[in-house]
Assembly symmetry: D2
Homo-oligomer: 367 residues x 4
């Protein structure tokens, strides 16, 4: 229970950090979408460890094999299974963790919940689990482009690392700007300071958190369901399901709570025959449903829990002890979090597109 996501475009991820591999089954992908393994690899490469000097040195090629659901380069409408074998695992680095719970990690809670845990590399709580999400989202993006919104662009970027907060013009940021630097920030002036900060905390055996912001352009009007499956509710769930996340806000977010209604409301005006808002404090959703403006939200990532300095903790035998981290870890998850945020956004959107097509037949009756 808990490893599936989506109502209609439904993915089920599986796999532990150190086991036979990780993967995903996607049930509900429409038929006749062009799909090959290279389509997945682009995003898996953006997610994979060892991709740059600011990510963990664990060296995984993360080569995806599509086991089912396609035929002669097209999706069949049947479940698509994707497998990525684990290769560079070093369980010996975790032998001490077999005996002790890492502070602020999932070791203790898994043990308490299940009475058992795979202590090698965090097992299921490892960020390797997100491989399945990224692969599924690569498929989702092809569906969106082919059948629903060819112009839709999902653009997450690193807004801050620690106290370094970039100045990004969300209306102008491009994928090229973001992907051209290894921290994936949208502000060229902050690339070097951010790289330096990550290297410095890593040098100290420490870690650091940050914020990923995400703008999504050319979103169709009418996505999201009233009440429980509001678009922002599903986005919040998707984002808070990513490892190390501690917060989500959309549009004006927490800052908006200090405004009055008069300051905060987004006035409507007709522009080029479409209903538009003059401002976008709503972040693209009103009443849980997209209004055609840019979706804009922010996600908080805590500093990596596994650090290389001695910490107080408790052993499997429930005695006080100390633990010093080993293994290969990101000192800052933010650069690799960008494709993960993108993946969850794509998965939420494609699911709501299919739901809207089921319920209302596609299209909108408003300009």
């Amino acid at each position: 229970m808990g490893s599936s996501f989506g109502q209609l475009f439904r993915l089920s991820t599986w796999g532990e950090s150190h086991g036979g591999g990780v993967g995903v089954v996607v049930d509900g992908c429409p038929p006749r979408i062009p799909l090959c393994e290279a389509d997945l690899q682009v995003d898996l490469d953006r997610r994979r460890p060892g991709q740059s000097e600011v990510t963990t040195p664990r060296n995984e090629a993360d080569r995806a094999e599509i086991l089912s659901g396609t035929f002669e380069g097209l999706t069949l409408g049947t479940p698509i299974a994707v497998l990525v074998r684990n290769q560079d695992h070093r369980p010996e680095a975790y032998s001490e963790m077999a005996e002790k719970f890492r502070p602020s990690h999932a070791d203790y809670t898994y043990q308490a919940k299940y009475g058992i845990r795979n202590w090698q590399g965090g097992g299921r709580s490892s960020a390797r689990e997100t491989i399945g999400r990224v692969a599924a989202a690569a498929i989702a993006k092809k569906v969106i482009a082919a059948q629903f919104a060819p112009e839709l662009e999902i653009l997450p970027y690193v807004e801050s690392i620690g106290a370094l907060r970039a100045n990004v013009d969300t209306s102008r940021v491009t994928r090229e700007m973001i992907e051209s630097n290894i921290v994936r920030t949208g502000d060229p002036d902050f690339v070097e300071p951010m790289i330096d900060l990550i290297k410095r905390v890593r040098g100290e055996g420490n870690s650091v958190g940050g914020v990923v912001a995400c703008v999504i352009r050319n979103v169709p009007v009418g996505l999201g369901m009233p009440v429980f499956d509001r678009l922002e509710a599903d986005l919040a769930k998707g984002m808070l399901s990513l490892p190390a996340t501690k917060g989500f806000e959309i549009g004006s977010g927490f800052a908006g709570t200090e405004m009055t209604g008069r300051e905060h409301n987004d006035a409507f005006r007709m522009k080029e025959g479409r209903v538009r808002t003059l401002t976008n404090r709503s972040g693209g959703v009103q009443g849980g449903i997209s209004n055609g403006e840019d979706l804009f939200f922010r996600v908080a990532f805590k500093p990596t829990a596994t650090i290389m300095t001695e910490q107080d903790t408790v052993s499997n035998a429930f005695e006080d002890t100390e633990l010093k981290g080993r293994g290969r870890h990101d000192a800052c998850v933010l650069p690799r979090a960008v494709p993960m945020v993108e993946a969850m956004a794509a998965l939420v959107l494609v699911d709501h597109m299919l739901r809207q097509r089921a319920l209302c037949g596609g299209g909108t009756v408003c300009p």
Copy 2:
């Protein structure tokens, strides 16, 4: 689609602001739980309009009738249907809104999505929909107390209204402190200033937002599922499904992103035979699973969209126009948001308790 919540303790709400009524069906409530209508009424009274001088004057008694699922004062294990009739509706106050979309409200997005809307009182997007949630949560709290965690306490309170931020000691706040004042803040010094602020903005035909914080004590260890149904992911979804919410953070939240791992990690120590953490930046969850510490999270509410001053907007005929709000509305939703946040927290918790009992048989193997 979108009006149900929960995997095992599953509620389906229905109803519009101005129609036959609103209500809920709860499927999955365990049998033999004592339950009568008075159990629901306590919380419905905390949620209802017209309860104090800082809430909307719409006068609804919100009397709940239990239509099914109980027998001789006990739950049967079968669906519990609850009905609340609408009484004090005044659709005439909404006649202008039949023709125009209220800025930052759901009018336009519902029309665009469905090609139709009940323009009276916001229809399904009205806060009246939360009656069903509050009634279901009253049942959930009885289940939690009877079968899972008798000492568990859910304590949401108003932390801020506009720029007024109360100083609340989360380890000491009590239900009495919160419920003894009509704004439901946890800091006596802020009661009068907050009341004054609400009255002032209302007097100006304006509105104001704020933050509800929530602490939950005596949470069992082991609630929450790895990966997608992490406890914080389901809490985030539940909170962002409430009307007017724009953000959610748990534990250290956005502020925690500026810390290093060494500062942020919660060291483990044995205390009175139990595994405890010395700090609680995790907010009570690690790896998506409760660790037995207090759950602590915050929810951002935007200023009410319906204000009594002229605003630019667009008509049903898609022409630019102006609109001045009418009808009876909260100038600040925060005092009534407190029982709503409590409801969603209880609904998430009971569902995960049932899921844990299904999967692991109840109890935890760790101290």
Copy 3:
């Protein structure tokens, strides 16, 4: 758990035989479908007790009230709640059943499962629960006609009562033929014998079973999902979820097991530009998916469990005892089972129509 049906057109029924009432919430009905209470009443009247001399004399008008989800005569796309109050209940007729379990009824199993039961009138196991299904299906049929298959006709009829088996030409049977007689058989020659049989067994304080057959014409090609949600699997589930059912077969059914492949296969031939089969032993489904031929299936209903003669049973105190039925019951459920079978068929079909529209966008690429 267990009181909801459908993935996209999702109904949740609630209510006991002797309580505040019974009803249903339908979530997932498309917007802008004309709908009023009279639309539901037609089918509720075909289902209601007391409708003829061969049904139970319990006199319930079964007037449906639509509480939400419509506006000015059209569906809103939001949940539709329907309420039917119980009126002619006589719990005193059940006082002996409070102490004893009726043989082959749900009394003992409910008690064993839940540790509690509403012994008045069978509680949730009463056929009154099907009111919610029939109301929801009336909505489903309007959706099918408006958006998917205007010519589709669902024609269930009584094929046999006890050993009396009617000869019905499924290709010619009409709704008029079925509804023109109170047993709802499709063969005029069997109307009187069937009425006589029901009256005779009722006179003896006994009961009798039978078979409902159902033909569905003008079914779109392509409904049903491979593997678990095959169209016949969902039909089987729907039919076996009706009270008193013991069997389901589609197309050639059990008789077909005695044939060879050469005899059984349905040859394809082009006819008037469409792919057709020359025979229909498949019953309209191949590989779990409709092929455009008539759907044809049969449902077995056992004799009513509540009979008016003394039977051996066990008491609440778990001692051997005897029980003689009281209360008002159908001596034969078949005439009233016809609208119930029709309801479940409509609910399965509309759900698969919405699912097909979500996945494949509507329409078929084959003639």
Copy 4:
């Protein structure tokens, strides 16, 4: 959509007959259940092709690899992924089927639904898909034995092939009797005649159908949910989701429709301190819930559609043509259907056991 089954013990199968392989992901398996690949292989070997002279000669070892969800021989509580590679595929045997639709097979309906199909070996409609179900059910049976009903026995057997109907005493049949003969019938006198019949029809390029009966002993009281998820409804769905099935009946089934209530009702009597019925026409369920008697049901399998003689059909270009089957196929699916029926029964039972534990905490309050 449509490739998942179960609410709590949830499996998702994937894979085509001729592709990278087939497999399953099981989400919701309780932790700390001993599990290794050999546990799965026993049942996969009973299902695999080429196992005897009466099954298809396609030679697949069907070796299962567990990719995740176990650690040191125990389940982790996280998703269990199982992979079986396809090996002996011969797509060239299907080249004619690329151009023509096999009568009574899924070729046409898949093409009509999706606009594409994997024509090699039936793609997703192949019986190879059931590998995932059999593997998942092997896990389910370990869960049932370890946590719910150690004495529970699921005993399906071949009751008839064509017109040959075995005489089996359901109260005495044993797994040894069934598994000791290659047709898996429960009556030694029918083994040779059944083998001869299968060989004869195969020799004629023809095929034959039959019935699998299933008795399940030592079923806990209280499994099954009222209304839609009645135990027999979920069994019916599970069975009708198997390839080539056309009917399901439980207890007295279709034959019971000819009885009166007085003949049909199962009288209750106390026996050895337990509530028992003197007869079992109910087939072990009353009101949708197990009553502790043996579950007994029957499943109809049609003759295999792929036969080796010329048949009328239609081409991809929608023109009349003829087709003679090729490839390797079972002339009678019954012997291999036995482990498939067993699998679906186990999957339905384990799911309802978990649901009952969630809702009622386990155990029954009745003797």
